[in-house]
């Protein structure tokens, strides 16, 4: 017994003393994230976790210049020339660029990459917006029969001089910004074909229409021109090494390891001990309490946020016997399906939301009330457009006018859904409920949690009465937000069913001109009209922040160099 105890004690001591616990090496960047990496195929990359890796392995023709959202600079291209009134773009490609496979990039590779995106254009991908620019429709050939091989082939070609030529069916002022998107990265045609991807020919294109590339062979065996190449991936780790054949400036950090550590406490401890350099946080309140100000941690605050969130007030609630409508009448027991079609109702609701209270309680005072549903750092944002404030008296006034006074007299019961497990959404709805119900005891707002995908599907059918949804940018152009939210044929239109002929006209005009000043003027008009008509309650935008090990530095990690449209480029970092 004594002998066993002695042996155990010796073994324990040995374990404790020899534990290899040195902080991460200086030539290795350690990133710990909470989520999976859904794909490493650029052709279907449409989420931040995937693009964080893809952006460091692959490159696009052009990219954003540092922190700028308006200035685009060459990357795999060296220059571009617009012609034909903005409907043709000719790109000169960089010479001597190598893929990780060792092959040299050619114009055929670039042509193949775009054609692959246009052919597949699956629902899970972000190719709808490049398809819209190049083929005139967001759909693939399965959903839109006007998309033919000839049309795809003609839209992007290599000329005799080895230049890449895009031919657009119509002017698209956002076209260049769209090219900077991760999904438009350049692939190697021969390599892709060899590992079993589409071979790039007319003969086989139909087999690849709408194909989801999430788990493609290319996703398993990526091959880009970027500064880092994938060395190995296992259950929890993705390991990268600086690519020796990279055409650009050699990265300072040789190795990058991206680990999945789902448990927040484990990630925090790793950062504080110096084993991890960059980690996923747990939200502002948690991170401020547990990480900010700790030794070895650099905290950068007041960074721009590029998401926009709104509470939708559906003017044409669909669905026979929709339970959300209650009695379906304005009799104090429900609402009619066109409840929100009265502008006085929408204004009443807009005045009933406590914007500053939301910023204080939900965003820890780090929030900003915007004038329009688009990022305030995007070109086209007009800070002069008026905003609603919480004003119970004004809300009362508008509610008294609504529905010829019947609303105030009879009251209503409205049922609104919010995204399950989304505390910020729930709180926003609770704030609205509390304020509305305090205005008139006959007013009742019931709120209930609903699974996200189901809520989005029902809202697309117009069956949700009032929901809270946001939008993150695909490219740095106002159109990506303004058309999405405000156009009567925009993405979010079925959720609000707001239609304004002037707004539709202005948005279409803004789409068809490359004159920036004119576009800005048109977007201001839309913003002002939207303020008057109040189709949405604009939820204040959070202020972004980041934190990381003080051993790491680099422009993208500073306030001056942070670009919300791009991933963190490891090549621009160094570590001590």
């Amino acid at each position: 017994m004594k002998k066993t105890a002695k042996k155990l004690a010796t073994l324990s001591s040995l374990l404790l003393v020899s534990a290899a616990l040195a902080a991460s090496p200086t030539d290795t960047l350690v990133i710990q994230s909470s989520s999976d990496v859904p794909t490493m195929d650029p052709g279907v990359t449409y989420d931040t976790a995937s693009s964080a890796l893809v952006d460091n392995m692959y490159e696009t023709l052009i990219t954003y210049d540092g922190a700028s959202l308006t200035k685009l600079v060459p990357l795999l291209a060296t220059k571009w020339t617009p012609s034909n009134g903005g409907k043709t773009y000719t790109f000169d490609l960089r010479k001597g660029v190598k893929f990780h496979s060792g092959a040299t990039m050619t114009c055929a590779d670039a042509e193949y990459s775009f054609e692959r995106n246009l052919v597949t254009n699956s629902g899970a991908s972000g190719n709808w917006f490049i398809a819209e620019a190049l083929t005139g429709t967001q759909s693939n050939a399965a959903d839109d029969k006007t998309v033919t091989w000839a049309r795809i082939d003609k839209s992007v070609e290599c000329n005799a001089a080895g230049q890449l030529v895009f031919t657009l069916p119509a002017v698209d002022p956002a076209f260049l910004a769209k090219l900077a998107y991760t999904g438009q990265a350049i692939l190697e045609k021969a390599y892709s074909t060899k590992i079993g991807e589409w071979d790039g020919t007319e003969k086989t294109w139909k087999d690849w229409i709408g194909k989801d590339l999430t788990d493609s062979e290319l996703s398993k065996k990526p091959n880009g021109t970027g500064p880092y190449k994938l060395v190995r991936a296992d259950a929890n780790n993705h390991l990268f090494q600086a690519f020796d054949g990279y055409w650009g400036k050699k990265p300072t950090i040789k190795n990058v390891i991206q680990q999945k550590v789902p448990e927040l406490a484990a990630r925090q401890q790793a950062l504080l001990r110096g084993d991890a350099d960059i980690i996923d946080g747990g939200g502002r309140s948690v991170d401020e309490a547990q990480v900010k100000g700790k030794p070895g941690v650099t905290w950068v605050d007041d960074l721009p946020n590029t998401t926009s969130t709104a509470i939708f007030m559906n003017e044409k609630i669909a669905g026979a016997n929709n339970a959300l409508l209650g009695s379906g009448k304005l009799d104090g027991k429900g609402i009619p399906s066109n409840f929100f079609s009265d502008v006085n109702v929408r204004r009443g609701f807009s005045y009933a939301f406590n914007y500053q209270g939301y910023i204080k309680d939900v965003q820890n005072t780090k929030g900003k009330q915007r004038t329009m549903l688009m990022p305030d750092i995007f070109p086209g944002y007009d800070p002069k457009v008026k905003t609603y404030t919480f004003d119970a008296a004004k809300a009362t006034d508008y509610f008294k006018r609504a529905w010829g006074g019947q609303l105030w007299k009879n009251g209503f019961v409205l049922t609104a859904n919010y995204r399950a497990s989304a505390p910020a959404s729930q709180t926003a709805m609770e704030i609205l409920k509390k304020n509305i119900e305090s205005i008139n005891p006959k007013f009742r707002v019931n709120i209930q949690a609903k699974q996200w995908s189901e809520m989005l599907a029902d809202s697309k059918k117009g069956q949700e009465a009032m929901i809270l949804i946001g939008w993150a940018p695909d490219y740095a152009d106002a159109d990506n937000f303004m058309y999405t939210f405000y156009a009567s044929d925009g993405y979010y239109s079925p959720r609000a069913n707001w239609k304004d002929a002037s707004v539709d006209k202005w948005l279409k005009q803004a789409r068809s001109t490359i004159n920036t000043a004119e576009r800005n003027r048109l977007y201001s008009l839309v913003g002002n009209r939207a303020y008057e008509q109040a189709p949405y309650i604009l939820v204040p935008a959070p202020v972004n922040y980041t934190f990381y090990s003080s051993r790491v530095s680099g422009a993208p990690l500073t306030k001056a160099g942070f670009n919300p449209m791009t991933s963190l480029y490891w090549k621009e970092l160094s570590k001590k």
């Binding site: 020899s18 991460s24 699956s122 296992d234 550590v261 406490a265 995908s453 599907a457």
Partner: protein, 340 residues
């Protein structure tokens, strides 16, 4: 006994088919929109929800969806797991050896410790050592695994710095492991076979905290059962007779009493092994240990139907096999047991 074993093994495919029908059937209770959720990673993708549903055939009738799944199974294709971003089979091949390794490191100490402490507690009934052990058992039994895991991590990794944190290997070894020739998939074993004792040692150290967490939580119940079983046996007639015959306490307790008291431990031990091999889901998640338990958590959270099905089928296989082993062990420990 042979017939019994063969009969039990033949049950496996039937159990699996039944289970797969139940699991896939249960998923049909979800709407196509809900089942499309794993493929949606951004609001933009949600805008194309209907296209995703069509591309995935999520509106197809149940027999077609099941038939599609079954025909793939016949071809050896268990489907693609969204949670692991790999084929289900490849995921199991990659992760199961890790879980087996952790189970091996954990199960034997749990069983030995439980038997020893349970016996000790019973032999010192109501004395100080028994009282202490009973308190410890209640503590271990009631302590949530995730709390214990995080506390151990905070103390031994973050505060004292004695043991490594989450993961399976230290950073530099993550890069070195690509050069290892893999024989068993178990990191310590493969590293040792490659002569990389540093990697083996590193992997072993990373298993200490998860193993201790499991040891504390899972031993508690076994200690309690062993104590009760031992107490029951110690008051039985044959033990009294053995004592009356003048046999020493060591022989009576060790040979006569403990052997019979072990029967319930065999049953529970069997389920302990099933549980460990099935993946100690919470422990693996806290310690970012790349076993099948961690995968299952992600698969369940992401409505990864192929992943959940793969895990369920694997668990079913383990249950049937381990139940058979437990039944056979019963026969070895208790000659009165007959196989029909």
């Amino acid at each position: 006994m042979l017939n019994f074993t063969i009969r039990r093994l033949l049950q496996i495919p039937l159990v699996m088919i039944a289970l797969s029908i139940i699991v896939i059937g249960l998923t049909q209770l979800l709407t196509p929109e809900q089942r499309a959720a794993p493929y949606i990673r951004s609001e933009q993708q949600a805008a194309r929800l209907e296209q995703i549903i069509t591309e995935r055939g999520l509106r197809d009738p149940f027999p077609i969806q099941y038939g599609r799944w079954f025909s793939n199974i016949v071809k050896g294709d268990l489907g693609y797991s969204k949670a692991s971003n790999k084929d289900v089979l490849a995921t199991i091949q990659e992760r199961l050896p890790n879980t087996v390794e952790l189970s091996l490191v954990t199960a034997i100490p749990i069983l030995l410790l439980s038997i020893w402490l349970g016996t000790l507690s019973a032999l010192h009934k109501d004395k100080l050592i028994d009282q202490i052990l009973r308190v410890v058992v209640v503590f271990g039994y009631s302590l949530p695994t995730f709390v214990l895991g995080i506390v151990l991590l905070a103390v031994f990794y973050a505060y004292l710095g004695w043991l490594p944190g989450a993961g399976q290997l230290d950073i530099l070894n993550q890069f070195a492991v690509g050069d290892l020739k893999r024989y068993t998939g178990m990191m310590t074993v493969d590293a040792a076979l490659n002569g990389r004792w540093d990697i083996a040692w590193d992997a072993l150290q990373h298993m200490i905290l998860p193993a201790v967490t499991l040891l504390i939580v899972l031993s508690a119940n076994l200690v309690k059962v062993m104590r009760n079983s031992m107490l029951e046996v110690l008051t039985s007639d044959y033990v009294r007779t053995a004592r009356a015959k003048g046999l020493s306490s060591k022989v009576v307790n060790g040979k006569h009493a403990r052997r019979n008291a072990l029967l319930p431990i065999v049953t529970l031990g069997g389920f302990l092994v099933i549980g460990l091999l099935g993946g100690s889901v919470i422990t693996e998640t806290i310690f970012a240990y790349p076993g099948i338990g961690q995968w299952f958590v992600q698969a369940a959270l992401q409505l990864d139907i192929a992943g959940v099905l793969g895990f369920t089928l694997l668990s079913a296989l383990l249950v049937v096999v381990m139940s058979t082993v437990v039944d056979l062990l019963y026969g070895v420990l208790d000659p009165r047991v007959r196989f029909y």
